[in-house]
């Protein structure tokens, strides 16, 4: 029979799924609203954009995930070097930059350009388009943040914090590895790790992928 720790983690996992579903449904409705003022081809482009960027198996999601893993790897390497007493400069100099992953990062940038051109609507409707794009970006950012919280909560619960203080540093390191958003990392370092974000870790994406010029 599952113990209380497994149960609370499973509960939060289900709540996370609910939140993600509601965010997606809301965007779908906003897309429907946009059909009132967009021409059919433009509306189709917007729907395609949503699928490409936010779909469960989307190309962007996959590449973002790979990039996040890369950041996680770099973080793990850095944490190990910090533990061994190396300075920030030494760490920055010796971190391995994987050429294949660097190429993937460039591909992601290329895909972003492609998506931007896909939604290059005429100026007259850009203002009306902003809520749809904003809604999509919010969906993505909120989903990521809640996902990170649930993973981090799992670390806290599974390592029995605060009953086992000897594991706290390990937990803090593991929690930091789940973060992939710049502003999120800044707050985590400030409130939990109580130190500035090392410069070499300052490569996360921000909450919003596109600048809507709001």
């Amino acid at each position: 029979m599952a113990n209380i720790k497994d149960k609370v983690c499973a509960l939060l996992g289900d709540m996370q799924v609910n939140a993600a579903e509601n965010a997606t449904q809301k965007v779908n409705q906003i897309l429907e609203v946009s059909s009132n003022y967009l021409s059919e081809p433009n509306h189709e482009k917007l729907k395609l954009f949503h699928q490409l960027y936010f779909g469960a198996q989307s190309e962007v999601t996959t590449q973002k995930s790979e990039m996040n893993n890369e950041v996680d790897d770099i973080f793990a390497q850095a944490a190990a070097m910090i533990d061994s007493g190396k300075s920030t400069e030494e760490i920055a100099a010796s971190l391995k930059i994987d050429e294949k992953k660097e190429s993937e990062r460039l591909q992601l940038a290329g895909l972003q350009k492609k998506l931007e051109s896909l939604i290059a609507f005429e100026d007259s409707i850009k203002e009306q388009l902003a809520p749809v794009m904003s809604s999509m970006q919010f969906e993505d950012a909120a989903r990521q943040r809640v996902e990170h919280i649930v993973k981090m909560f799992g670390d806290i619960v599974n390592k029995s914090v605060p009953k086992k203080p000897e594991l706290m540093e390990e937990v803090a390191t593991s929690m930091a590895e789940h973060i992939a958003i710049k502003s999120e990392r800044e707050v985590f370092y400030k409130l939990v790790l109580r130190e500035p974000v090392p410069e070499h870790l300052d490569s996360d994406s921000d909450d919003f992928f596109f600048d809507l010029g709001a």
């Binding site: 209380i4 609910n18 029995s160």
Partner: protein, 186 residues
């Protein structure tokens, strides 16, 4: 790493709160954007379509009320209240109804998402308080039920309360006439 072991759990809780507050704050901005969009669409429809006198009157009335609602929203109107206001705006005009329906649906999902975020926050807070006095590694079945009962008092939506019941083996949700949360289980 400069973590404070004494306050670590509270520090983490503060981080979770900050992240969930970000989501809630952005969510509120979204609601206002949705209404502003609806205003633009209504302007556009009015320009493009030939409406009967009655439909045009209904449309103009709805527009006026919507403008008022947008003003109120900027002062943080409750989402549920906003949804009811929009329902009232639909009047008898099919044209207005057709425009409003997806907006009302969007606000409904937005409202549910806000409640989901509050629910997640409530579970995290309840757990962090629970483990200050209990050892989860040595918990009994009854400890689990006691914890679930604490959750049932803070988790607001019936769906989430049912999830609590499902995961902690409390059985089916009680049917309560006024839809209030079911009582404690022993």
């Amino acid at each position: 790493m400069a973590i404070n072991k004494e306050t670590f759990l509270d520090d983490v809780k503060a981080f979770f709160d900050d992240s969930l507050s970000w989501c809630q704050s952005e969510s509120e901005k979204e609601s206002n954007l949705i209404l502003t969009t609806l205003q633009s669409i209504m302007d556009d429809v009015k320009r493009r379509s030939k409406m009967s006198q009655a439909a045009e009157t209904a449309f103009l009335e709805a527009e006026e009320k919507l403008a008022k609602l947008v003003q109120e929203t900027s002062r943080n109107i409750d989402l549920g209240e906003m949804k009811s206001e929009l329902e009232a705006l639909k009047s008898d005009s099919i044209e207005v109804s057709r425009l409003m329906n997806p907006v009302i649906e969007a606000l409904q999902f937005q409202d549910q998402l806000t409640q989901n975020l509050q629910g997640i926050r409530a579970v995290i807070h309840t757990w962090t308080e629970h483990i200050k006095e209990n050892d989860p590694d040595n918990s009994t079945e009854q400890d689990g039920k006691d914890f679930a009962n604490k959750l049932l008092k803070v988790v607001k939506t019936p769906h989430e309360r049912n999830l609590v019941r499902k995961h902690f083996g409390l059985g089916e949700e009680e049917t309560v006439m006024n839809g209030a949360p079911a009582g404690d289980y022993v």
